[in-house]
Symmetry: C2
Subunit: 462 residues, 2 copies
């Protein structure tokens, strides 16, 4: 893979411009108004894989958005890498907090990206990181250095729960057969501290609605005499954590994987500055589950967060009203061995149980997924670790991520393969937030590192 | 006042049509987009008082919306009644829950109003009830039966805190000098159970904002590791009531007037059906402060209600975000002897105190007012009671209301007058809610009853 750096040098501007074109399409899967944009993005990805030299590129219809499948099979005796990524993005709101429009990519320097970063929704999550793989394959095919077989599966519903992928994978096991799955949809500690994600949290996402009186009421005439759905909702949500910030849903922790003190000691070695972390978020104090460090709280421990809440009068000025309804969106991040459907059911039962009879409660599950762990003695992990060592000059640190890629557990179950998470983004890249960006250095470093994985993996596979 | 019923019979259709015209103007004082509508409504009221035969009608400029002043002085030795009302209305949202447009009045029959009711925002609160007084004066002047002097003061900011009135009254004490103040901006128990409101609750209305991290965060990467402002806000709000639904703000109950058991026993005699109350609101159980009945909870006890809450993702589908900010509008209904400015300060101090250091909190007071009690041995009360007895055939029941007319306490302080609250609306008239309405029977009964008050009061005054 000695030619990869010179290839990148020659094609750098084209690589950046192609990504910028991809980022211009607002493929927001959560918003039906962007339906055509999501479809156009699927087409873009299909054409990109064709141009990169894949043999067979298909736009596979599903009950939802299409999945792009592509392959380059060079020898059936060689191992097969399946690359997964997604072409859909998170909604861009709150739009007014973006310094530049979310779908008009611009390149600006930042403290963590002195060489410049591309600012746009999806720059890092996951268009930029997915596109690194397209460019890495382009290099390996065009230079005749592809050491094994490769398959691509790029979906358009990751940000809304990957339902169509869950439908697609069990129906296409043979087509998707592989030896290892490779995904870039996570981050690393810092540009000079490479790391590989070895664990992901699962997810259960629900919406709750509390209904009190059948209509909005005057808060003077009825205040104090009837249950106010907003007050009740705040009480119910508040009760979901105890004074130590443990989650109070009965059975919630039953299957939670408890790490040994050795494992926790190993985790604690990862470089981390509480002061820098607080400074970056402009908060005075951290907050979380008693008995666990910040890095444990956001990786090996399950959580419950309200992602949205609304009810009553939200306009200018004052309205003395008792609302008829109040609602919230709530997500729980889960850890390995917590079954997301079971947790969703536990939540639903508990939330319905704690509601006073003076209100009625509706719990609507949105979507979910399982947590996941990659053992570091897997040859896929070793191949990735060596690849980073070659291009970064440092052995990467294995680390658990707090995020969720629910589909990874499904892959293991249906395709019987482990997944390697080679992420090149940074925590400060603001994914899911206004001003999301992806460092140009990281983008190119990803394209450079990926071919080394293929080479190392093929050698270790023998 | 023997001619009043025939006068009403003759002019009934005109009285209804005039009120409908008044209701068509969307005088929403809380919304600056309706600025011109509020001013047009002031003009309408001014012209109405001129046509009714008042001698001196003025549109008095204030720092906000104008106050309409009018008078008919017949003899300086006779007593003077000051009529107060307001021409502004509550916002109409949620608009989609109205069966007909809020500013296109329609007459429909209801269970409680088999003779028909006018449906429109402001029909009962307070355009309809205020306009009864204009028509009552028209009758008394045109028929030569006005027994005493009368002054009118109709404002346009009652629904947003009466700030300009608080400015106007101390500056016009001589102009406003009176012996008794008469207001129709409350309700009665039922059309066959007349009642007079003898107490009003005070009000303190605040807005709170909780800020955590400086930007919206990915709930996977940060979930569990930082304070989520929505979770914190729900915890803070929930903690404002204890397990008995007592309010936990230190000092909140210090000055609360405690009624004797005799007084509470007297109150309990008012006809009230818990089953009908629950049925009308379609709720299975009532809810409120331990140790008090429903009618006590919404009249003689202070309350704290969230009137609106918002934060995070409120759109379609799911977004796994930890919001940077969460907000709520909170109002407290106060009882006699609770000083609203002091309570506002107690709330602010407490809410800031209970915030964990991981967030910052901003408390913005909106407005407030004092509670009020009218003694039933006042001759104004006696005059009103006898007036109802004449026109309804029943002695009205004195009752405390849960609502607030903050200006009543100011009147007592600045003008040294007691206020008589002769309300003709019903609880089911949905004031401040979608489908607000006012019974035509009630409207005409009000016009009939008011002149008897003037007559009785003038006689008792001697």
């Amino acid at each position: 893979m000695k030619n990869v750096t010179s290839y990148i040098k020659t094609h750098k501007n084209r690589f950046i411009n192609e990504l910028i074109e991809l980022l211009k399409i607002p493929s927001v899967s959560a918003d039906s108004a962007h339906n055509q944009d999501v479809l156009n993005t699927a087409d873009f990805v299909k054409r990109s894989l064709e141009k990169a030299g894949c043999d067979k590129v298909e736009l596979c219809e599903t009950p939802g958005y299409p999945i792009i499948y592509a392959e380059k099979i060079i020898d059936k005796n060689l191992p097969t890498v399946l690359v997964y990524g997604h072409y859909d993005v998170q909604p861009a709101d709150p739009i007014n907090l973006w310094d530049s429009p979310p779908f008009e990519p611009v390149i600006k320097k930042t403290d963590t990206h002195p060489e410049g970063a591309i600012f746009a929704r999806g720059a890092c999550d996951d268009k930029g990181q997915m596109y690194m793989h397209v460019k890495a394959i382009e290099f390996m095919i065009s230079s005749g250095e592809l050491p094994c077989n490769v398959k691509f599966m790029i979906e358009g519903e990751e940000e809304v729960g990957s339902e169509s992928l869950s439908w697609f994978v069990p129906r296409n096991k043979e087509k998707l057969a592989n030896d290892i799955i490779l995904i870039s949809d996570t981050g690393m500690i810092a540009n000079d501290i490479p790391s590989i994600t070895t664990g992901l949290r699962g997810l259960s996402y629900v919406e709750v609605e509390v209904t009190g009186p059948n209509r909005d009421l005057h808060s003077g005439l009825y205040g104090g005499a009837v249950a106010n759905p907003i007050n009740i909702l705040t009480k119910m949500i508040a009760s979901l954590h105890d004074e130590n910030n443990h989650i109070t849903i009965p059975g919630f922790y039953d299957n939670v994987e408890e790490l040994s003190s050795d494992e926790r000691a190993e985790m604690a070695k990862a470089p981390f500055s509480i002061e820098n972390y607080k400074k970056a978020l402009q908060i005075e104090e951290l907050y979380g589950e008693k008995g666990y460090s910040t890095n444990e709280r956001n990786s090996i421990r399950p959580t419950l967060d309200v992602n949205g809440i609304w009810g009553g009068y939200m306009g200018e000025g004052a309205k003395t009203v008792i609302a008829s309804k109040a609602s919230a969106k709530i997500s729980m991040r889960l850890v390995p061995n917590q079954e997301w459907r079971e947790i969703t059911q536990l939540f639903k039962n508990h939330f319905e149980n704690i509601a006073p009879k003076s209100v009625s409660v509706k719990v609507t599950p949105h979507h979910g997924g399982q947590g996941y762990v990659t053992p570091i003695d897997n040859i896929g992990y070793k191949a990735a670790s060596k690849a980073y060592e070659t291009t970064f000059g440092k052995i990467p640190i294995p680390q658990r991520s707090g995020g969720s890629i629910p589909i990874v557990a499904l892959f293991e179950k249906e395709l019987n393969s482990k997944t390697i998470l080679m992420g090149f983004g940074l925590d400060s890249d603001a994914i899911h937030s206004p001003n999301e960006h992806f460092g140009i250095w990281n983008y190119l470093k990803g394209i450079e590192t990926i071919p080394h994985f293929y080479k190392n993996y093929t050698e270790l596979f023998k």
